[in-house]
C-alpha cells in the first residue's frame, strides 16, 4: 500500500517537473493580456482582444522587428484570479509586459503585482483615478493608455454651464467609477454656476429603476445617467416611459451611450450628450480607416474598448521603433513610452509624467444618420465639441487637486440637494 503511494508520488513528481518554465528568447516581445474572457464581461474582453490583435495582424505580428508573442489569460472578472494569472504570466511565461484588465478592481489588484515583480503593467481600460494620482508613486511600473474616470467629466461640466444647463439630477451606479465620473462633473459644473440638486446611487445589480425614477426632481434641466450593465439599455427606456425624457435633457457618462451599447439602444437616446476620449463618429482619416477595418473584420462598430487596445499596440510599436526592435528593459521601456506621442484613431495621444494620457475629450451627441458611406441610418456619437489636450487634472493646479480628497459618494458634497 505504501509502495503504491510512493509510486504514485514519483510519477507525479516527474510530471510536475516536466512542466518547468521555458527559457526566454531574444528579439521576442512577450505580452500577457489579462481579460475577463468568461463571465458577464466576456464581450468587452472579446472587443479588447480584437482591437489589439487587429493592430498586430496589420503589422504581421511584429513591432519593428520584434516578434510579438501575445498570451491571453482569463481573469474571470475576479481580482484574485487576475493576480494568479498575472503571476503565471510573469513567472512561467516570462512576459515582459502585462496589459489589460477591465474593472477598476482588477486594475487595483494588478498594479501592486507590477511593483512587486518589477514587470510593466499597462492598464488599457481601467479608469480609476488614483492609480495615476494619489497612488501613483506606489506603482512605478504602472502606466495607463486609457483614461481616468473624471478626465472627460471635467470639461463636460463646463460645457453644460455654457449650454443652458443649470440644474442637474444624477442617477449613477453605486460604485467607484460612478463616484469619480459624477464627482468630476459636479466639481466643474458647480464651479461655473451650475447646481446638482439631487444625487442618486442605485445599486449595481439593480433591475428596476422605478424607485429612483419616481423621485426625480422634475424641475431640473437635465438628468445625468451612469448605468452599468443591462441598465444601459433599460434606464433610458424607463426614463422615457416615465415621461422624464425628453422633457428633461438626457446627459451622462460616455459609457452610457458609447458604441458598445449604442446599437442596442432605442430612439429615446437621440440627442443625448456625453463626453469621452473617443467617438467612432470622429471624422479624421485615422479613425475612418480604423472603424471601417474593424467593422469589416468583426461586424460591429468599434467602441473605446477596441480603440484603447488598438492604440496600446500602436504605442508599443512606436516605442519598439525607437529601440530598433530590441527590448530595452522595463524601466527604459516605460520611460520611452511616457515620452511618446502618436496620432491614434482617437486623435493625438501623449502622456503626463504620472503616466496617464493627455488626449482630446470629445463632447458627443447621439444622432441617427449615415456615416462613412454605410447605407443605413444608425445611431452615432456625433462630435459637437472638442477640448484638445486634456490631462487628468484639467485646468486645476496639480498640487491643489491632489490635496483634495478623491471623489466618493459624498465628495463633492451635495450643497444644493434639498
Amino acid at each position: 500500500m505504501k509502495i503504491q503511494w510512493l509510486g504514485a508520488l514519483s510519477a507525479g513528481a516527474v510530471a510536475l517537473a516536466a512542466l518547468a518554465a521555458p527559457k526566454a528568447e531574444a528579439d521576442e516581445l512577450r505580452i500577457g493580456f489579462l481579460m475577463p474572457v468568461t463571465g458577464p464581461l466576456a464581450q468587452i474582453a472579446t472587443d479588447s482582444i480584437n482591437g489589439f490583435k487587429m493592430y498586430l495582424d496589420d503589422h504581421k505580428g511584429q513591432f519593428h522587428g520584434a516578434t510579438v508573442k501575445f498570451i491571453v489569460e482569463d481573469t474571470q472578472a475576479k481580482p484574485a484570479t487576475a493576480v494568479l494569472k498575472a503571476e503565471k504570466l510573469i513567472k512561467q511565461d516570462q512576459v515582459q509586459m502585462l496589459v489589460g484588465g477591465v474593472l477598476a478592481s482588477t486594475g487595483y489588484a494588478l498594479a501592486p503585482v507590477s511593483t512587486r515583480e518589477k514587470v510593466i503593467y499597462i492598464a488599457s481600460i481601467p479608469a480609476s483615478d488614483n492609480l495615476t494620482q494619489r497612488d501613483a508613486d506606489k506603482y512605478p511600473y504602472f502606466a495607463r493608455t486609457s483614461w481616468t474616470s473624471s478626465q472627460p467629466s471635467h470639461p463636460f461640466g463646463q460645457w453644460a454651464c455654457e449650454n443652458g444647463i443649470k440644474k442637474v439630477v444624477t442617477i449613477a451606479a453605486d460604485y467607484a467609477f460612478g463616484y469619480e465620473v459624477v464627482g468630476g462633473f459636479q466639481r466643474t459644473f458647480e464651479a461655473c454656476g451650475g447646481k446638482i440638486v439631487q444625487k442618486m446611487w442605485p445599486p449595481i445589480n439593480l433591475a428596476d429603476y422605478a424607485p429612483y425614477i419616481s423621485t426625480i426632481k422634475t424641475d431640473a434641466d437635465a438628468v445625468f445617467i451612469l448605468p452599468v450593465g443591462a441598465g444601459a439599455l433599460t434606464l433610458p427606456r424607463q426614463l422615457a416611459a416615465a415621461g422624464i425624457i425628453p422633457k428633461m435633457r438626457l446627459i451622462g457618462s460616455g459609457t452610457s451611450f458609447d458604441e458598445f451599447v449604442l446599437p442596442q439602444l432605442g430612439d429615446e437616446v437621440i440627442g443625448a450628450v456625453s463626453p469621452l476620449h473617443y467617438s467612432a463618429a470622429l471624422e479624421t482619416p485615422e479613425n475612418e480607416a480604423f472603424v471601417k477595418e474593424y467593422r469589416t473584420k468583426f461586424g460591429k462598430v468599434p467602441s473605446y474598448f477596441s480603440e484603447n487596445n488598438f492604440t496600446t499596440a500602436l504605442l508599443f510599436d512606436t516605442v519598439m521603433g525607437q529601440t530598433g526592435g530590441k527590448w530595452p528593459g522595463s524601466k527604459e521601456f516605460l520611460d520611452l513610452l511616457v515620452k511618446t506621442k502618436v496620432t491614434a484613431p482617437r486623435g493625438p495621444v501623449s502622456f503626463d509624467d504620472l503616466r496617464n494620457p493627455i488626449q482630446n475629450i470629445y463632447i458627443r451627441k447621439v444622432e441617427k444618420k449615415k456615416m462613412f458611406g454605410y447605407p443605413n441610418d444608425e445611431l452615432w456619437n456625433t462630435v459637437i465639441k472638442t477640448y484638445p489636450s486634456v490631462s487628468q487634472f484639467w485646468t486645476f493646479d496639480r498640487a491643489e487637486y491632489l490635496k483634495q480628497p478623491p471623489y466618493t459618494r459624498d465628495y463633492p458634497p451635495c450643497k444644493y440637494c434639498e
Binding site: L6, L9, A17, T38, A80, V83, L84, S105
Partner: protein, 340 residues
C-alpha cells in the same frame, strides 16, 4: 491505532508535497498554496456537511470576513505586518467563530432547504456590507495589502516561504479537525446526522452540538480567509459571492463528505479546473459544470467516499479513511447518499 496506516500515508503525501512543490513551476507553487488554503475552508465545511449533516450556502462569508479583517488591519492600522500576523490569524479565526455564533442563532432554527436559503441570505448581507461600507472596505475597488508579513529573517513575500506557512496551518487544521471528529463530540455529530430524533431521545442537546459545530467551522473559515488575503494580496467583495460558497460545497461533495481529506482533493480538482485548465482552453467552464453534474449523479459519496465504500465492501471490515469508525457496541452506518 487502527488508522495508523492511513495517517502515515497522509503524512507521507504531505511531506512529498512539501518537498516537491517548490521545485515545480512557480505557478504551480502558487496554485498549490491556494489549494491548501481552500482545503482548510472545505474541511471546515465538511465538519458541518459531512459530519453533522448540515449544508450551508453561505460559507464564503467566513472566508470573506477573515480576509477583510486581515486587509483592514494591514491597510488602515498597519497591523499584522510582522510577528503580529499571528494575532491577525487569531483574530480572524475569532471573527469567523463570532460571526458563526450570531448566524447560527438565526440559521439553526431552520433545516434542510430553509437552512440553505437563510445561510445564503446571511452571506449576501455580508457581501452587501463589504460593498457598501467603502470607507472601511474599499467598496468595489477592494483593498490592496501592503505585502506579506516579515517574520524576523523570514520574508513571507517569498512564495516558497509562504507556501510552508500555509502548509503548516493546513496540517494544524487537519490535525485539530481530525482529533475533533474522532472525539466523542465528533461521533455525536455523526449520530445527529444519521438520526437526530434518536439522539435527542438519548438525551443529547442536538441544537447545542450543531451550534458548536457551526461555530468551529466558522473559526476555520476565518482562518482560511486570513491566509487567503495574503496569498493574493488583495480582497474584494468578490470573495463573498454565491459562487464561492457553492464551490466550497462542491469541493466537499466531490472529494467525499465525511472524510476530511476529501475536502483537499475536492479543492485541488476545483481549483485545477478553474485556474489551471482556464490557462489552456477557453471551454473550461463546460468541464467544471460537467464535473458538478457527473459527481452528483455518479459519485454521490465523492471520490474518497466511493473508494472507501468499495474497500469496505471488498474487505467487509470497518471503514477506512480518517473519519468514521464504529464505536464500541453501536454500529454507525456509512453515509449512503448525503444529508437528509
Amino acid at each position: 491505532m487502527r488508522h495508523r496506516g492511513r495517517v502515515l500515508a497522509a503524512l507521507a503525501v504531505m511531506l512529498a508535497v512539501a518537498v516537491v512543490t517548490p521545485h515545480t513551476t512557480p505557478f504551480l507553487l502558487l496554485l498549490v498554496t491556494r489549494i491548501l488554503i481552500l482545503a482548510i475552508l472545505a474541511m471546515s465545511l465538511d465538519l458541518l456537511l459531512g459530519f453533522t449533516g448540515i449544508a450551508s450556502l453561505g460559507h464564503a462569508a467566513f472566508l470573506g470576513l477573515g480576509a477583510y479583517l486581515t486587509a483592514i488591519l494591514a491597510v488602515r492600522y498597519n497591523f499584522g505586518l510582522g510577528w503580529d500576523f499571528g494575532l491577525v490569524i487569531l483574530f480572524g479565526s475569532l471573527l469567523g467563530a463570532a460571526t458563526a455564533a450570531v448566524f447560527g442563532l438565526f440559521a439553526l432554527r431552520a433545516s434542510g432547504v430553509y437552512f440553505l436559503m437563510i445561510t445564503l441570505a446571511l452571506s449576501q448581507c455580508v457581501w452587501g456590507l463589504a460593498y457598501r461600507w467603502d470607507t472601511l472596505t474599499g467598496g468595489d475597488n477592494g483593498l490592496n495589502l501592503p505585502g506579506r508579513p516579515v517574520l524576523g529573517p523570514i520574508q513571507l513575500g517569498d512564495d516558497t516561504a509562504y507556501f510552508y506557512l500555509v502548509l503548516a496551518f493546513f496540517a494544524l487544521s487537519l490535525l485539530v479537525l481530525y482529533v475533533l471528529v474522532e472525539s466523542p463530540f465528533g461521533r455525536s455529530l455523526v449520530g445527529i446526522r444519521e438520526h437526530e430524533v434518536r439522539m435527542r431521545i438519548l438525551g443529547y442537546n442536538t441544537w447545542l452540538h450543531k451550534y458548536i459545530a457551526f461555530v468551529i467551522s466558522g473559526a476555520f473559515g476565518g482562518l482560511a480567509g486570513v491566509l487567503w488575503a495574503q496569498v493574493s494580496g488583495q480582497v474584494s467583495p468578490d470573495n463573498v459571492t454565491l459562487t464561492t460558497s457553492v464551490d466550497a460545497l462542491l469541493m466537499v461533495v466531490l472529494g467525499g463528505p465525511g472524510t476530511l481529506l476529501g475536502g483537499v482533493l475536492g479543492a485541488a480538482i476545483v481549483l485545477f479546473l478553474r485556474e489551471y485548465l482556464s490557462t489552456l482552453v477557453p471551454w473550461w467552464q463546460y468541464v467544471l459544470g460537467s464535473v458538478y453534474v457527473l459527481t452528483i449523479v455518479y459519485l454521490p459519496d465523492g471520490v474518497l467516499g466511493t473508494l472507501r465504500r468499495r474497500r469496505r465492501r471488498a474487505r467487509a471490515a470497518p471503514a477506512l479513511g480518517l473519519a468514521l469508525q464504529p464505536s464500541r457496541g453501536k454500529e454507525l452506518k456509512i453515509n449512503e447518499g448525503g444529508i437528509e
